[in-house]
């Protein structure tokens, strides 16, 4: 792998003259600033150029790969929330007792494990020893079980911690005491009163985590050979396919900005104290 784009495109057997020709053909002999301005000018119009490795339009490549990544991200997030909220709430209800302690230990251990390693362990157990699940590819929903679980577990710690601390704060508040005094059932108190107030920071963090999860799909998609945008990014980095690298980084950044904005709006809707000015 070489840092020089023209050398990579020309291939291993190219002569110096070939490389120079490629450099001129792709406009790589121009100053960097000019190349960047040219790229940005086209990018705002949705034209990210050609991938020299895939021999395709970069934008159509990304559009083609996007559904896999998005599906992985959305379901991973749902799995993460579905596990994190009950764990966080349980820990808060049993604050300081054994169950709380056990849940916190589980969360810490989970946080300490790199997701690719967790993925490999799942593959060894469920794919090889038990033979329950397919290990690579994206042909059916069963191919998505392990990748979504790994992604869900990677976003779980932050969500569960926040759910726990938010619930502890909410359960100690006056409005929960009032609700108790009114004789409401525990379920109604926890879900309708406490959780609703604890949800605000969770929504904010969940949005950030969703952005991170999409960006982190590079790792998980590579392990499970899912052909999403993350895998595309990794392939293009290995092949020095600059047009694709630029487009994927830009796309993930834009998604992050959009998601953060949406989470701000959702927060304003959940909490009337936050007003959009």
């Amino acid at each position: 792998m070489s840092g020089d784009v023209a050398t990579t495109i020309a291939g291993p057997e190219a002569t110096q003259a070939d490389i120079e020709q490629v450099r001129r053909a792709y406009g790589l002999d121009r100053p960097l600033a000019v190349q960047l301005a040219d790229w940005a000018g086209h990018a705002v119009r949705g034209d990210f150029g050609q991938s020299f490795y895939f021999r395709k339009d970069v934008s159509s490549l990304i559009v083609e790969r996007m559904p896999t990544t998005f599906r992985l991200g959305v379901f991973g997030m749902l799995v993460g929330l579905a596990l994190a909220l009950p764990l966080g709430i349980l820990a808060a209800l049993y604050e300081g007792r054994f169950l709380d302690r056990a849940i916190q230990l589980l969360i810490s251990a989970n946080q300490a494990v790199p997701s690719f390693w967790l993925a490999l362990m799942l593959i060894i157990v469920f794919g090889v020893h038990l033979g329950w699940l397919p290990t690579t590819g994206a042909d059916s929903w069963r191919h998505f079980i392990m990748p979504t679980l790994v992604l869900g577990l990677s976003v779980l710690p932050a969500l569960a911690r926040l759910a726990r601390s938010g619930m502890i704060k909410a359960l100690a508040s006056d409005y929960v005491r009032t609700a108790r005094a009114k004789g409401l059932s525990s379920f109604s108190i926890i879900v309708k009163h406490a959780l609703r107030n604890a949800a605000i920071p969770i929504v904010a963090i969940a949005a950030v985590q969703f952005g991170n999860a999409l960006g982190g799909s590079v790792v998980i998609e590579s392990v499970f050979a899912l052909h999403g945008v993350g895998h595309l990014a990794w392939e293009s980095i290995i092949k020095s396919d600059v047009a694709v690298i630029q487009a994927t980084v830009l796309m993930f950044s834009i998604i992050y900005v959009v998601i953060t904005f949406i989470s701000d709006v959702m927060n304003a809707m959940l909490d009337p104290r936050i007003r959009l000015s």
């Binding site: 300490a112 490999l120 060894i124 726990r164 999409l214 590079v218």
Partner: protein, 281 residues
């Protein structure tokens, strides 16, 4: 949380970290082998708990016949170097920006906030991979890239804590008694926000370790033959269907170090009643 238990957590974490540090420093002496010397006659020997193990190689050997224990212990050096090195660099960048923004406010603060926002919108692993792919990989490059990508939390925390104390009396009196701005920042502001920054540092160490492992696993981190644990997992991936231990051990080692750093960080946070997320736990 009970104070004794907090202290116990902290001590367990510190103990594990000291053991890892000792293992890292004396890796040759403990394993009795060189982590780089290959012996193709002794490839893929199993570890001590399996049949047919070689008493000379406690944890067996890898696909090139290198002693696995030696590589695992040597890997601790890399993990500690990456974790501490990247965090120190990131700390210098983030704390400088955060303290300046928080202390001066106004225009300076707007620039700092803009830089933080830009940094946050960049996908960490992807950008790190792309940069390593472009400039090539070495230990120094990986440390610098991680530092350039992981300074944001330092900046955010340094900025808010500086803002909280900049109007307090001891800062005012320092200013009135004629102290220079640099004296105030170094001697008054920095010592008073250091506790929070130490907690952030422990978070960043674990983050740097985990991101490095991902980069090395994808082949764009620490270059071989250096035994980074992430790289060892990648190299053992082809063998994992037959010899699961070859990918299991480095992962457990990673988990142990990260848990230990987290325990120390939690200990500091709880003892000073503060933690990096600003939440109580």
């Amino acid at each position: 949380m009970h104070l004794n238990r907090v202290r116990a957590d902290f001590l367990i974490g510190a103990l594990i970290l000291s053991l890892v540090a000792i293992a890292a420093i004396f890796s040759h002496q403990i394993s009795g082998h060189d982590p780089f010397s290959q012996d193709l006659m002794k490839r893929m020997l199993p570890p001590f708990w399996m049949d047919g193990h070689d008493p000379e190689h406690f944890l067996g050997t890898d696909q090139l016949g290198r002693d696995y224990l030696a590589r695992l212990l040597y890997g601790a050096r890399i993990v500690l170097l990456i974790g501490v090195g990247a965090t120190l660099f990131a700390g210098v960048i983030g704390i400088t920006l955060g303290v300046l923004g928080g202390y001066f406010g106004g225009m300076v603060d707007s620039i700092v906030l803009f830089l933080i926002t830009v940094r946050l919108s960049l996908p960490t692993v992807l950008v790190a991979l792309a940069v390593v792919g472009m400039v090539g990989s070495s230990l120094a490059i990986v440390v610098s890239i991680l530092a350039l990508l992981l300074w944001d939390r330092f900046a955010v925390v340094a900025r808010t804590t500086t803002m909280q104390i900049r109007h307090l009396d001891f800062i005012k009196s320092a200013r009135v008694s004629g102290c220079s701005t640099s004296w105030i920042l170094w001697r008054e502001v920095l010592p008073n926000i250091s506790e929070q920054l130490i907690v952030v540092a422990t978070l960043e160490i674990t983050l740097a370790i985990l991101v490095e492992a991902s980069l090395s696993f994808l082949g764009l981190g620490v270059p071989p033959p250096l035994p980074s644990w992430g790289l060892m997992i990648a190299e053992g991936k082809d063998q994992m269907y037959f010899n699961a231990w070859i990918v299991t051990l480095p992962g457990i080692a990673l988990m142990l170090v990260v848990v230990a750093v987290n325990l120390v960080g939690d200990g500091v946070a709880r003892l000073s009643d503060w933690n990096g997320n600003g939440s109580t736990r």
